[in-house]
Amino acid sequence: MNTWMKLGGLVTLAIALLTGPLVAQEAAGPTLEQRIAGVEAYVNNVDPAGSKVVGIPGPGHNAWIMASAALVLFMTLPGLALFYGGLVRQKNVLSVLAQCLGIAGAVTILWFLCGYSLVFGTGFNSPWLGGIEKLFFKGVGPAPNTTYCYWVSENVFAMFQLMFAIITPALIIGAIAERMKFSALMAFVIAWMFVVYFPLAHMVWGGTGLMNGVWNADAKIPAIDFAGGTVVHMSSGWSALILCLILGPRLGFRKEAMPPHSMVLCMAGTGMLWFGWYGFNAGSALAADGIAATAFTTTTLCTATASFTWAMIEYIVRQKASVLGFCSGAVGGLVVITPAAGFVDAGAAMLMGVAAGAVPFFACTALKKALHYDDALDTFGVHAVGGTLGALLTGVFANPATNPNLVSDAYAAKNGLKALAESGTVWVPQLQAIGITLVLAIVGTTVIALVIKAIIGLRPTEEDEVQGLDLANHGEEGYILAIK
C-alpha cells in the first residue's frame, strides 16, 4: 500500500464521514437544511416544498383560521341576526333570525354539494367559474391546498370560505326585512348563490379567477379584494337594493313609525359583528402572519374611527350621538376596510375610517330620504355604498410596502398588478371590478326576483304582514312576557 492509496483511503473515509449522514438522509428524504427550511417556511408562511413538513397544516396558521372561521360564523349567528333583529319591529324579529338560520343551513348544503368546487376548483380553468373536481368535498381534507395557502388545512379553508358564503346573502335580509315571505327568500337565496355568488367569488378569489390580481398570473383584470368588498358587500348591497325595489315598501312605510324594537339587541349584535370581523379580515390572510397582523390593525383603526365619525356627525347635525349612529358607523368602517385590510397601512385605515363614517351616513339619511326606496335596515346604504367606496379606496391606498404580494414576481408582475401598484393606479382595475360586480348583482337579482315573483310570489298577504311575520311564517313570537 503506497501513500497515495492510503491517502485515497483517508479521503474516502473523510468524504464518507462527511457526506454519509447526508446521503443516508437523502435516501430517507430531505437534507437537514431542507428540513430546517421547511419549519422556517412554517414560521414565514411560505411553501415548505422539499421539506419533511409538506402536506401538513401548520399549527399556528391552522389554529388562526379555525378560530377565524368560527368568528365569521359568529358574525351571522347570532351577530348579524341580532343586529338586524334588533332593528325590526317586535313582530318581525324572529323572521330575521329564521332567515339567517335558514340561509346558514341551505348555503352549507350547497357548499358541500357543489359551491366550494364551483368557486375554488380550478378544473374548468376558467376566469368565470371554478370546476367540478371538488363536488361533495372530494379530496378536501386536512392537507393544505397550496393554490390558496401553504399552511391551512384545505377543509378548514373550505369552512372559512363557507362562512363568507353564508353571511353574504344574509346581509341582503336587511333591505327586505319585515315584508318578504320566508319561502320566497329561501328560493331567492338559493338561486342567487348560483347566479351571483359562486361566479363572483371565483372571479375574485379563485385560482383562475378573472379579477384575482394577487394570486392569478393570468388575471385579465388585476383587481384586488382582501376580504370581500366586491364579493361580499357590493354583491349583497346592490342586490339588496334591487330586491327591495322589486318588493316594494313595507305596508305603512312613511306613514307609521317603524322604529327598532331593541337598540340593545342591535348594539349587542354590532359588538359581535366587530369581534367576528377580525376573523373575516385578519383571517383572510389565511395565515397568522404579518399580513394578518396588518389586517387586524387596519380593521380596528378604521372601524373605531368610522363609528366615532358617524356619531360625531350626528352630534353636530342634531346635538345627539345615537347608539344606532355608533353602531352604523362601526359596521360602515368594517365594510369599507374589508377589501383593503391587508393592503393598506394604519394611516390609510384612519382616513378610510373617516370616509366610512361620513359617506354611508349621508347615504342612509339624505340619499334614502330623497329617493324613497324602503331599504328597511340600510343594507344598501351601508354595504353597497360602503363596499363600493372601500373597493375604490383600496385601489387608492394599496401599498406594496405593506403587502409585497401587490408586486410579486410570480403573479402581480405577470398580470400587470405590479406596474399598477407601483404607479399608484390600482384604482383602474378596481373600477372595472366594481363595474362587473354591479352588473352581475343587478342583472342577476332582477332576473331571479322576477322569476320567483311570478312563480310563488314574494310578499306575504297584507294580513300576515300586519300581524307580523313571526306568527304568520314561523308560528312563534319573539317575546312572551308576563301574563300569557
Binding site: A257, P259, P260, K320, S322, L324, G325, C364, T365, G381
Partner: protein, 112 residues
Amino acid sequence: MKKIEAVIKPFKLEEVKEALAAVGVEGLTVTEVKGFGRQKGHTEIYRGSEYTVDFLPKLKLEVVLSDEMLQAAVEAISKSAKTGKIGDGKIFVSSLEEAIRIRTGERGEKAV
C-alpha cells in the same frame, strides 16, 4: 262607593301612594298607560327616519273607596302628583255599584 281613576306621571307613584295611605286608602291598582294630551312628546331619529312620539308613558291609578273618603283622596292625589308642569295628569271620579272581595265574599265598602 266611588272609583277614582287618576293618570299621573310615572315617577310620582311612590309619593301618591304614600299620600293616599295617609288618608286611609288601603288598596289600589296601577296600570301602565300611554297618554296623549297637551304635553308634547319627543322626536326620535333612527338613521334618516324621524318619529314623533306623541304618546307619553303615564300611570293610571284606580282606587275604589267610600263616598266619605273621596274628597280626601282626591286632594291627596292632587297635591302629591303635582309638579306644576304640563302633563301632570287628571283625576276622574265615577260611581260604583258594588264591590266584592273575592277571598271572603264581603261586599260593599267592607270589600275595599
